[in-house]
């Protein structure tokens, strides 16, 4: 029996009301799905005098495509990502990661915006969105700004937003036809588990050559991270199993993992390379149409 600390709960119906509350209330925090936040509040890990519940802000819940860009409202639930035909068809890597997040119960509450703003180094939706080169739309009463998603992550469980700001949208270009992407997650078990390491890879081909490569890892550094040197190693070259293995092994020196209850830092270093290799291999197969 651990009661939640007391707070004032506000339930705005529009984005404007939500932003006004965040600007005017001292010590306010937005709450999205609450699957992380309520636990942190109960444990006393964070404090909030006011909670601004975004659950009724319907205008932040959408998945749509316009001019070859996919836009996802920050309050879109994991279960909605999984059920979306648009995501299944054009960004299945994001679907794969959403399916591996938490349990059915938490996926029915948890949102993509909450998953990202919670800024866990292990956030499952982060690596796929990083390799899709997603941009984050940040809104406040003052203005809207668009930042590369990586800029949202300031440290473990720390996002870069100021208290009056909200992440309102994630957007990325529809991947071209000759491209493929894949997500791999290693946990201590298959279901309802935080990643020991998670990895996403994206490859775009031009004939035999790798035109563009993007790799991102989670749970191996204070924030989810792009592996730029791995990408540079692949771009402009003819892809092969060997090249993928060589490039993947570079992750070992790029990551900065911690020892914790889930795994040792040394194991994470090894697995960063292994999972990158697997994700790149599957992305390559998908780019060539050899894997659903």
């Amino acid at each position: 029996m651990r009661p939640l600390p007391s707070f004032n709960l506000h339930r705005p119906k529009t984005l404007r009301e939500a932003l006004e509350l965040l600007q005017s209330l001292e010590g306010a925090r937005p709450i999205a799905g609450g699957t992380d936040l309520l636990i942190l509040l109960r444990d006393g890990a964070i404090q909030a005098k006011h909670l601004v519940d975004l659950g009724q802000v319907g205008e932040l819940r959408y998945i749509r495509e316009a001019d070859d860009v996919i836009h996802i409202g920050s309050m879109t639930k994991h279960s909605q990502l999984i059920r979306s035909e648009l995501i299944a068809e054009k960004a299945s890597v994001l679907r794969e990661s959403a399916m591996s997040t938490g349990s059915i119960q938490t996926r029915n509450r948890g949102t993509v915006g909450g998953n990202l703003c919670n800024a866990s180094p292990a956030a499952d939706t982060a690596p796929p969105l990083l390799v899709l080169d997603a941009k984050a739309k940040i809104s406040s009463m003052k203005d809207n700004r668009i930042i590369p998603l990586a800029v949202l992550f300031a440290g473990p469980k720390i996002n870069s937003l100021s208290p009056d700001e909200l992440l309102t949208e994630i957007a990325f270009r529809v991947p071209p036809a000759n491209s493929g992407a894949s997500f791999h997650k290693l946990g201590r078990r298959r279901s309802v588990t935080l990643a020991v390491v998670n990895a996403a890879a994206y490859l775009a081909l031009e004939g035999d050559l790798c035109k563009e490569a993007r790799v991102a890892l989670g749970s191996v550094a204070p924030t989810p991270l792009r592996m730029t040197p791995v990408e540079e190693r692949l771009e402009g070259r003819k892809l092969s199993k060997r090249l993928i293995n060589e490039a993947s092994s570079e992750c070992r020196d790029l990551v900065d993992p911690v020892d914790d209850v889930r795994a040792s830092a040394e194991y994470r270093r090894d697995m960063a390379c292994v999972l990158t290799g697997r994700a790149l291999t599957d992305a390559w197969k998908r780019a060539r149409g050899n894997l659903p």
């Binding site: 029996m1 651990r2 009661p3 939640l4 600390p5 007391s6 707070f7 004032n8 709960l9 339930r11 799905g33 609450g34 699957t35 309520l38 636990i39 109960r42 519940d53 659950g55 279960s79 938490g102 349990s103 059915i104 119960q105 938490t106 029915n108 509450r109 279901s191 309802v192």
Partner: protein
């Protein structure tokens, strides 16, 4: 604060605190003891209820957040054909040991079969991934859900 929502098919108006969880509202204040209090952090699934038809952990929902929504617990599905079939299969297959996880398991199984009347074993496993059974009776629970699916008339 005063909230209004639909609980097991009936409109409910009640007073609750802003920091009350849906779990405490249902179990402690409204006496629906099928909703079990286990981990209180969304890991065990024993407090699973349907919120607008979707299984959620009621320990991670604030009571005021169900304003205007539909909440369903095992008690509200007493005469529901699918729930009757699930209950019978759980009993006949011995899918109950201590019984603590059973209501949550039944709700998750009910949500699965409502949407997918003929699931594979893997689909059943995924459907109950968020429900822990500390007696570790998973094999019989999975069998019972598959049996209930088989016994339901095809519509």
């Amino acid at each position: 604060m005063r909230i209004t929502f639909q609980l097991n098919g009936k409109r409910i108006v009640c007073e609750t605190a802003q920091n009350r969880t849906l779990l405490d509202l249902l179990r402690v204040d409204l006496g629906l003891t099928s909703v079990k209090k286990g981990c209180e952090e969304g890991e065990c699934g024993s407090c699973t209820v349907l919120l607008d038809g979707m299984p959620v952990n009621s320990c991670l929902v604030l009571a005021p957040q169900v304003e205007g929504s539909r909440v369903t617990t095992v008690e509200g599905l007493e005469d529901d054909d699918l729930m009757v079939a699930l209950r019978r299969a759980f009993m006949e297959d011995g899918a109950i040991q201590c019984g603590f996880c059973t209501p949550g398991m039944l709700i998750s199984a009910y949500a699965l079969l409502s949407e997918n009347p003929n699931p594979t074993e893997d689909e059943v496993k995924t459907a109950i991934e968020g429900n822990l059974c500390r007696c570790t009776g998973y094999v019989k629970i999975i069998e019972a859900i598959l049996d209930a699916a088989e016994r339901m008339p095809v519509e």
